[in-house]
């Protein structure tokens, strides 16, 4: 059946990316797993109604971003998973590449979690720019904001990360 084939192809093409995106936005493996499931359930449900007016990748990243933003909202309300430096500093379960030393690995884990601690728009802009290698225009279409706001979010996010990472280096 054509729709099933199409869905299977999307899973092969996007599952890893959706998971990475969710991990960056949410800061934990458990949350990322639930979000990725949710994203593909939505894709599955609405694939039949997808009109092809937008690029399919834009559509998928929009769903992914919206799912993650909704989960962040829930996180904030329940406060069970605080999205702050404390959460960011917790040791991650991500498996590192064999080539990186312990210190670099620690720093990378911190950085990964720091992205999740950014404000919504900055986290989304940073994630899409770095993980998916998108430009302002593509990110603007996904977040449904002007390209200028994307640039601002990206710049603020980058500065905030630089600041927080150097704070952490000073008091490890």
């Amino acid at each position: 059946m054509a729709k099933a084939d199409e869905f299977n192809k999307l899973v092969e093409d996007y599952a890893q990316g959706v998971y990475t995106h969710a991990h960056r936005m949410l800061g934990s493996r458990e949350e990322a797993e639930e979000a990725a499931q949710d994203v593909f359930l939505r894709i599955h449900r609405s694939l039949a109604g997808f009109q092809g007016r937008a690029k399919i990748s834009t559509w998928i990243w929009r769903i992914t971003t919206n799912v993650c933003l909704t989960r962040r909202e829930v996180q904030r309300k329940s406060m069970t998973v605080p999205l702050d430096e404390e959460a960011a500093a917790r040791v991650s379960d991500e498996s590192p590449g064999p080539e990186c030393s312990f210190i670099i690995r620690e720093e990378r884990d911190r950085l990964g979690r720091l992205i999740a601690s950014l404000p919504d728009r900055e986290a989304a802009a940073i994630t899409l720019f770095y993980m998916e290698g998108m430009d302002y225009k593509e990110i603007a279409r996904i977040l449904d904001i002007p390209a200028g706001s994307v640039a601002t979010a990206l710049h603020r996010g980058r500065e905030r990360l630089a600041g927080r990472l150097s704070d952490m280096k000073e008091r490890p």
């Binding site: 059946m1 729709k3 099933a4 869905f7 299977n8 899973v11 599952a15 890893q16 998971y19 990475t20 991990h23 493996r29 990322a32 797993e33 990725a36 499931q37 593909f40 359930l41 599955h44 991500e94 498996s95 590192p96 590449g97 720093e107 990378r108 950085l111 990964g112 940073i126 720019f129 770095y130 993980m131 302002y136 640039a151 990206l154 710049h155 980058r158 500065e159 990360l161 630089a162 990472l165 150097s166």
Partner: protein, 139 residues
């Protein structure tokens, strides 16, 4: 060039994925202003770190469970099957009701028939024809 301008342009260069300062004015500012030179160094460091941040590998059980969503049986069955089932559900009581007319005196039968035809027609349109044409509301 002032500091704000310099910093903004640093971001724009990074956004364009350029690592060198090609602009003469910017090079001059970076040489003269230590704060901005440090700022740029920090930005470049975070940019490289973000670029090199390894992607967490999707856990295999999660991938399996997402793949299983695409199994054909998970997709809803073709639309005609529930429609036929639904039609039969209304058709059988309808026929029984049709038979009831023989219990009425002959001069009252047309009124009874008109009543059940109207009701049956309404049900037919609202429950079967409309969902079939415009899509089932519960999907």
């Amino acid at each position: 060039m002032n500091c704000d301008e310099f910093r903004e342009r640093c971001h724009v260069l990074i956004d364009a994925r350029k690592s060198e300062l090609t602009d003469e004015e910017m090079r001059a500012h970076a040489g003269a202003c230590q704060d901005c030179a440090d700022f740029r160094r920090e930005l470049m460091a975070i940019d490289v770190a973000l670029r090199e941040l390894p992607a967490p590998v999707i856990p295999a059980p999660l991938l399996d469970s997402i793949r299983s969503m695409g199994q054909p049986e998970v997709f809803p069955p073709p639309a005609w099957r529930p429609d036929i089932v639904r039609a039969a559900r209304y058709l059988i009581p309808g026929l029984l009701l049709w038979g009831v007319q023989w219990a009425f005196p002959e001069d009252l039968r047309p009124f009874f028939l008109a009543a059940i035809t109207f009701t049956g027609g309404y049900i037919l349109v609202s429950r079967i024809v409309r969902p079939w044409v415009f899509g089932s509301p519960e999907l």
